[in-house]
Subunit: 151 residues, 2 copies
DNA sequence: AACCGATCCTACTTGCTCGGTAGGCATTGT
DNA sequence: ACAATGCCTACCGAGCAAGTAGGATCGGTT
């Protein structure tokens, strides 16, 4: 799983919007709060707008606001909007790659891995993430003995 | 999760080696069986050798062989050898990124997602994958209703 | 000693993506 | 009119991904 700067910034901006929901917040304010490069963040927010995650308000006192309640927005939705599909194999969807011979069952593994990812990222929403009250299954994953150890 | 061509090829080559374990197989034979570009595969196998997943035999009738039994080799080991860590956020390990303000709990989510990935990729080995007898938890993940549907 | 099939090493190419910057136009409340 | 904001296009430098090319080296066979 590779979360790009775009993905990271997008989630952080969305969290900042969730914290002030349903207020409208300017790019500058979001950039300041999360210490993000303003111009780059602009491009990221444009992605979120095209994905209908946020709505833009132009003109003086403009900015962005979530199009729906924080708890209605899954983190996966945000990541997909800016980084594309959660899982890809050689640039293709896991279910689209096919294998021959001894690799026959490989796509089943890719699909399972994607499914595991979805079970985390599609199930956590902005409200939970903002308050830190993650679903118990997710909390358990992060609490396993060496979950915080690199491998 | 982004599996590159390197990662895909590496797992397929390893599976082909597992199928013939403990025989020595040439790059050419591996490339033929899985239809991979030979020269590129050479570079991938070099990675696996440096990670001590395979051993190279030089000279006539040379090739590669697994350094241990197929069931002792996790898929994650192969992916890490050629693609680096399973999960990265902005080029860093999930446990290394820190956040302020409304994004405070974000690293917990990244760690949970990585943990979920590990629970699949670190638990499946070449023997299971070659025979298709995946662990029941993994099989269940791939069998959930819309696991094979794109989102 | 010669040969042949194999790995190994270095270099190169081509195209794409990533992260970010710059400038200016369009919109809107005051 | 003005100022603050979003919107759009273009650009840049660095790095990476996916190969390709050519040859050096090794080692068993003849």
């Amino acid at each position: 799983m590779r979360v790009s700067a775009r993905g990271d910034y997008a989630v952080r901006a969305a969290l900042a919007l969730a914290a002030r929901y349903p207020a409208t917040v300017s790019t500058q304010a979001l950039a300041d709060e999360q210490r993000l490069p303003r111009k780059f963040l602009e491009a990221v927010l444009a992605d979120l707008r095209r994905a209908d995650v946020v709505r833009a308000v132009r003109g003086c006192d403009g900015g962005y606001q979530l199009t729906r309640e924080p708890r209605q927005v899954a983190v996966a939705t945000i990541l997909r909007a800016v980084d594309g599909p959660l899982a890809e194999v050689r640039g293709m969807r896991p279910e689209q790659v096919t294998y021959a011979g001894s690799a026959q069952h490989l796509s089943e593994l890719w699909v399972a891995a994607r499914s595991a990812l979805r079970d985390v990222l599609d199930e956590v929403n902005l409200a939970q993430l903002a308050t830190g009250r993650l679903p118990s299954r997710v909390r358990r994953l992060a609490a396993t003995p060496d979950a915080w150890q690199p491998r």
